[in-house]
Structures are given as structure tokens and as C-alpha cells.
């Protein structure tokens, strides 16, 4: 009798225990799925230094926040970029935070719409149509981040002009004609030229963002203008470094200062040796991490996107200037070591709402 009773009790205990056990095992995984969204980075390619650093920033943030992180690469193919994001939305059931650098301007709309429909939170950077606004997709479309190309182009131009003593001829190397960044940075150069009548723009040529093209182009420009070239303005560092090698082949490296944008390692090294006068960077490490941080904090309710001011929804980030004055410091904290960024300081680099 006792044995049977004990067995019955034991069986009931066993069954209840098992049920509780299953429930206990199941619940945290449900809770975990609700608590911990997947962080997703969507970028163009991993074959350029810029996006490679972007990815390390994203990974650094994910590690800091203790979250799972996935990188999607569109390889410059808009359809693939959007399809991959939709696949991730399906896989996570919408429980994800996306930080996207859309391959092309029109891509931003389908990406944002898909995220809003699935309940995911999204931050876009650089490219979006003018009539697409975060506030139209509350609360899922948290923010859009850009960097003021006019400001970058103007800042580096002014430093270049100062370096060559305020007068003389310069040549300029532009990026791919049809891209916004190329157009804006040139506008900045034009503004700086207008303010400095003693500086003459000898020629503006296009090297399509590439060092190889800039290398050949610079050789030809040296033929045409020779010693009249006192400085070189490049719309990005890669072209600037191509121009630098063309100068080096003629023993002119360091004698004709170059300025660029992006802050790639080659350019930072050149600032240290004095061959570049300066470069500015949008800090892709920060972009990769902070885009996710802003989305994640909105997702877990740390702040309510609908109550944020407009300059937190669509804003220009602060570009970091790297010149002779701060290059050693920058090198120590950003090149030798992984940069330390305060991921709780969501709005520290907001410089204002985006011009419309």
C-alpha cells in the first residue's frame, strides 16, 4: 500500500515536475526571444575599408550589449539588399533592430515599410528619399543619420587654403558624378573658393572615388599645370592617396599638401607624415555601433521615438577632423586600439536637423 501510494505521489510529483520543467525551459526562451532582439547590420560591401570599419563598430556594440548580431551585405545590389532584410524579418518574426546604409536612395522606402509591418525597429544612414520621414512610421522608423557633405568639403578646403598660405592654384578630384556625397562635397569646396578669391581652382576632374584613377589623373594634371599646383583637394581619401602616390613618383610627396574625407588608415598615416594636411571622418565605427544603439534603446523602451524632437529623428552627425593638431591622439585611440565609445550617449554627436 505504502509503496503504491508513494509511487502514485511520486508519479504525480514527477509529472508535475516535468510539466513545470518543460514550462520553465520554454518560458525563458519565449521571454528571451521577446527581450533580446537580433541586431542586424545591412551594408553595401565588405571590400572597402569604410564598411569594414562599420562592421567592427556594429560588432563592438553587440558585444557590449550582449546581443546577437548579423551582417547582411548587398554587394551593391538593391534587390538583394532588400530581399535579405525581408528574410531576416521573417526569421526573427520582426524581433530585430536594423541599422541600414541603403544601397540606393529609393531602397530606403521598401526597407522601412517592411520593418514597420513586421514590428522591427530601423535606423537608416546616408540614403533616403526626401519625402520619407521617420515620423511617418512611428515608432518603428527611429532615426535617419547623415553627415553634412557641404560642411566636410568646406572644412577640408579651408584647411588646405590655410596650409598653402591663402593663395595659389589647386586642383580638385571629385567622386562619382551622380552621388549625393560627391555633389555636396563639391558644393562645400565651391563655397570655400568663393570666400577665398586668392585661391584659384585650376581644374576639377572626376576620379570616381578610386585611387587607381586618381593616380593616372594626377600624373596628367601635373603635366598640364606643373608647379602651379600648390594643393590638392580630394573628395575622398582613397583618391587623395592615389594622387599622393602620383606625387611621390615625381618626388613631390609632402611638398604639395592633400586633403580628403573618410579618415582611412592610409590618410591618417599621411597626416602624420605631413603629406596630407587633414582628413575628416564620419567615423564609421560610431555609425555602425550607434545606429544599432539608437534602434535598440527605442525598441526596449529606454526612450519613446514619438516624443523625441525632430533633430533626433533626422540629423547630421558630427564629423571628426583629423589634422596635425590631433593626429597622434587620434592614432592612439582609433588605430592602435579599438575606439572607446560611450554607447549610452545616443545624441552626443547630433549637430542639427537635416536640411530639406
Amino acid at each position: 500500500m505504502n509503496d503504491t501510494k508513494n509511487f502514485a505521489v511520486n508519479r504525480r510529483t514527477l509529472m508535475m515536475g516535468a510539466t513545470a520543467g518543460v514550462a520553465a525551459l520554454a518560458m525563458p526562451s519565449v521571454l528571451r526571444a521577446q527581450d533580446k532582439p537580433t541586431l542586424v547590420t545591412s551594408i553595401r560591401s565588405l571590400s572597402n575599408p569604410y564598411h569594414a570599419v562599420w562592421k567592427t563598430g556594429a560588432e563592438a556594440y553587440a558585444k557590449w550589449a550582449g546581443l546577437e548580431h548579423v551582417t547582411l551585405v548587398s554587394e551593391g545590389n538593391s534587390e538583394k539588399g532588400i530581399a535579405d532584410i525581408k528574410a531576416m524579418l521573417a526569421k526573427t518574426g520582426g524581433n530585430m533592430v536594423l541599422n541600414s546604409d541603403p544601397n540606393d536612395t529609393p531602397d530606403a522606402r521598401p526597407i522601412v515599410e517592411a520593418c514597420a509591418k513586421a514590428g522591427a525597429y530601423v535606423v537608416t544612414q546616408w540614403n533616403k528619399p526626401g519625402d520619407l520621414h521617420p515620423k511617418d512610421f512611428n515608432p518603428n522608423y527611429v532615426s535617419h543619420i547623415e553627415f553634412d557633405g557641404i560642411d566636410s568639403g568646406k572644412t577640408i578646403a579651408e584647411i588646405l587654403f590655410k596650409t598653402i598660405g591663402g593663395k595659389g592654384g589647386i586642383v580638385a578630384l571629385g567622386g562619382l558624378i551622380s552621388t549625393t556625397a560627391a555633389i555636396e562635397r563639391k558644393k562645400g569646396l565651391d563655397a570655400a573658393l568663393a570666400a577665398n578669391p586668392d585661391i584659384k581652382l585650376l581644374d576639377f576632374q572626376v576620379a570616381n572615388w578610386k585611387s587607381t584613377e586618381a593616380f593616372d589623373l594626377m600624373g596628367n594634371l601635373l603635366t598640364r599645370f606643373g608647379d602651379d599646383i600648390k594643393g590638392i583637394w580630394a573628395a575622398n581619401d582613397d583618391m587623395g592617396s592615389g594622387a599622393l602616390e602620383a606625387l611621390r613618383a615625381e618626388n613631390l610627396a609632402g611638398k604639395v599638401p592633400i586633403v580628403g574625407v573618410d579618415g582611412i588608415k592610409t590618410a591618417v598615416d599621411a597626416v602624420r607624415t605631413g603629406e596630407f594636411a587633414c582628413t575628416v571622418t564620419s567615423d564609421p565605427f560610431w555609425q555602425g555601433g550607434m545606429g544599432l544603439a539608437i534602434g535598440y534603446n527605442a525598441k526596449i523602451g529606454k526612450f519613446d521615438p514619438t516624443k523625441e524632437p525632430p533633430e533626433h529623428r533626422e540629423f547630421y552627425g558630427k564629423a571628426v577632423l583629423i589634422s596635425h593638431d590631433n593626429v597622434e591622439e587620434y592614432y592612439k585611440t582609433n588605430v592602435d586600439a579599438k575606439p572607446e565609445i560611450d554607447w549610452n550617449d545616443l545624441w552626443g554627436r547630433v549637430t542639427g536637423a537635416i536640411r530639406t
Partner: protein, 346 residues
């Protein structure tokens, strides 16, 4: 079994009697036919040089000629390799991928800022070997798997690109070996060493094309593969060797490109395929194979380089430079190719 006793008409006879001769072809025939046409690229080059020199005398300055030679070095080396493939009537689209692999191998094995290696000139040998191996694989794919060179080498292009993206981790790696950088920076008799290397590549290609069995077999395959096969040419072996040879030249070009830029990143080859094909075709080598050669290609490379240089010297707006290049390609091909012999234009 009957034996044909009627003598075969020579190709030129057929050509002259074709009633459908297109108009420009007729003019060319009138002016001296194929001989005139084969000189067309050279004439274009001379006219181009004279026009640019009139517009801007800086063009014939020694310094500019050195720069011209310098910027022709990499395209020339690439186009040398590609010429053999096009002569066979095939195409090698793996130019950019192979160049990028060779440049990647070079910077990763020589002194660089990404890892601790420092194998000096062994890195150069390894880079050229890597290029040759890529070409060898392209040849195997074409002959053993029987995949058309267009598709096979397209695949190799992306394999090469992917490989160097992976190995370089997406960043640009700096080349710190001073003796290798001297290829671009050191001058011998007033010309950068890279130019001498490219000239050496040209001489080598000339010897291969005109003085070896391989060169003649390549030409024969391009002319008519069936006839070549019947006359005992080992087509498979020649094709594989030709692709490996092209890879060898692409490897050298990769070394030169990395030395010039002082760094390598995965996209170091961007746009080189188009430039190389343009140079080969503008020089008068037919895409259908069997016609032209490395001397034509030398002229083609010079035309393309002089044109790019000239447009900058003349201050032509960057917005229309590409259009001018396109017009130039069509004009040069129209003048130089013996299109009369083409029965079908695809």
C-alpha cells in the same frame, strides 16, 4: 574516294570578289586594302599625338612622355596577356580578379602593415605564380569542363575578387617593402623601373608570338580551330598554356599596380578589364581571333593612354570624356578591322 584537284581560292581572292563589300571596306580596298588597314591604328596614334601637341605643347615635354610611359605600364602588361587569349578567339574576363589576387599575395607576403611577413622578392615570385595558377585553372575549366571561356573566366573573376576581399579583410593593406616600391619610385635611364618591366613583358610577348611554336599555334587556333586540330595542333594543351601565360602577365601587372599605389585593396583591379580589352581591340586585334598581335596591342595601349592624357591636357570636361572614349573605340575598330571578311556580325 575523289580527290579535289581544283585549287582552293585564297582568302584574299574571296574577299575581293564578294559582291556585298560594305562601303568603308571598299574605300579601304581602293586605298590599298589590308596593308593600309593594318597601319590604321598607328596612323590614329600619330594623328592624335600631333593634334594634342598642337593644342598643348606641354604634351611633348620629356616629363609628360615619362608620365605617359608610366601610366601605360600596367595596362600594357595586362593587354599583353589578354592579346594571346583574344588571338585564340576566346576572352579572359578574369583580368581584374587575377590582378587583385596577385596584388593581394604580394602585399601579404612582403613587408606590410597588416601582418608580420617579410619575404622580400619571394613575395613577387609568389604573386606572379598565383596569377599564373589562376590562368591555369581558367584553362582547365575551359578545356576539361568544356565551359566557354566567357563563363569560365567570369567565374574566375569573382572567385579572385572574393578571395582577396576575404584575405585582406576588406581593408587596404600598405606595402612597406622599399625595394619593391622602387619598381615605381626608382628610375633607370630616366624611366621608372615599372616601365622597363612592362617593356620587358612586351619583348617577351613578341618573342612568344613570333618565334615560338606556342605563338603560331595560338594564331592557328584563332584562325580556324578545326584546321589547326587536323594539322596536329594539340588544342587542349595550347589553350591551357595560353590561359596560364595570360595569368602570368596579369600577375606581373598586379605586382606593378601594388608597387605604384603602395598598397593593395580588393578593388585595385577595378576598370582594368575594360581598359585592357579596349586597348587590344583598338590596336586592331579581332575579337573573332586569328588576326592582330602584340605589336598591335602596344599601339592600342598607347592610343588609349595618349587619349586620356590628351583630354586632360586640353581641359575637356570630365562629363564628356567617357563619351569621347566611346567614339574613339568605335572609330578605331571601324578603321582597323578587316570587317569585310566577317560573314556575320554578331
Amino acid at each position: 574516294m575523289t580527290i579535289h584537284t581544283e585549287p582552293l581560292k585564297s582568302v584574299s581572292d574571296i574577299e575581293r570578289t564578294t559582291p556585298m563589300t560594305p562601303f568603308p571596306g571598299r574605300i579601304a580596298t581602293f586605298l590599298g586594302g589590308r596593308r593600309w588597314r593594318s597601319l590604321a591604328p598607328l596612323a590614329v596614334l600619330i594623328v592624335l599625338c600631333v593634334l594634342i601637341a598642337i593644342a598643348n605643347p606641354n604634351f611633348i615635354e620629356l616629363r609628360n612622355l615619362v608620365r605617359l610611359a608610366n601610366s601605360a605600364a600596367v595596362p600594357l602588361t595586362l593587354a599583353m596577356g589578354l592579346t594571346f587569349i583574344i588571338l585564340m578567339g576566346s576572352i579572359d574576363l578574369a583580368v581584374e580578379g587575377t590582378l587583385s589576387v596577385a596584388a593581394m599575395v604580394l602585399v601579404l607576403l612582403a613587408a606590410n602593415d597588416g601582418n608580420g611577413n617579410d619575404y622580400g622578392w619571394w613575395a613577387v615570385l609568389a604573386a606572379i605564380a598565383a596569377g599564373t595558377a589562376m590562368g591555369f585553372v581558367s584553362g582547365l575549366i575551359q578545356t576539361m569542363l568544356r565551359i566557354p571561356s566567357f563563363m569560365g573566366t567570369l567565374g574566375m573573376w569573382f572567385i579572385g575578387l572574393g578571395l582577396s576581399v576575404y584575405m585582406l579583410g576588406g581593408t587596404a593593406i600598405k606595402l612597406n617593402d622599399a625595394s619593391i616600391r622602387d619598381l615605381a619610385l626608382h628610375r633607370f635611364l630616366g624611366l621608372p623601373v615599372a616601365v622597363w618591366v612592362a617593356f620587358g613583358a612586351f619583348l617577351l610577348a613578341t618573342v612568344i608570338q613570333y618565334h615560338t611554336k606556342l605563338g603560331r599555334h595560338i594564331l592557328a587556333i584563332g584562325g580556324d580551330e578545326d584546321v589547326a586540330k587536323l594539322s596536329g595542333v594539340n588544342v587542349v594543351r595550347v589553350r591551357i598554356t595560353a590561359f596560364a601565360l595570360a595569368g602570368f602577365f596579369f600577375g606581373i601587372a598586379g605586382v606593378l599596380a601594388a608597387a605604384q599605389l603602395g598598397q593593395s585593396h580588393a578593388v585595385i583591379g577595378d576598370g582594368r578589364l575594360f581598359a585592357a580589352v579596349t586597348a587590344v581591340v583598338v590596336g586592331g586585334t579581332a575579337l573573332t581571333g586569328g588576326e592582330g598581335g602584340v605589336v598591335n596591342t602596344l599601339i592600342g595601349v598607347l592610343i588609349v593612354t595618349v587619349l586620356a592624357n590628351g583630354m586632360i591636357l586640353l581641359g575637356i570636361s570630365p562629363y564628356i570624356q567617357q563619351t569621347v572614349q566611346g567614339l574613339m573605340i568605335i572609330a578605331a575598330v571601324a578603321l582597323s578591322l578587316d570587317r569585310v571578311r566577317l560573314k556575320i556580325v554578331k
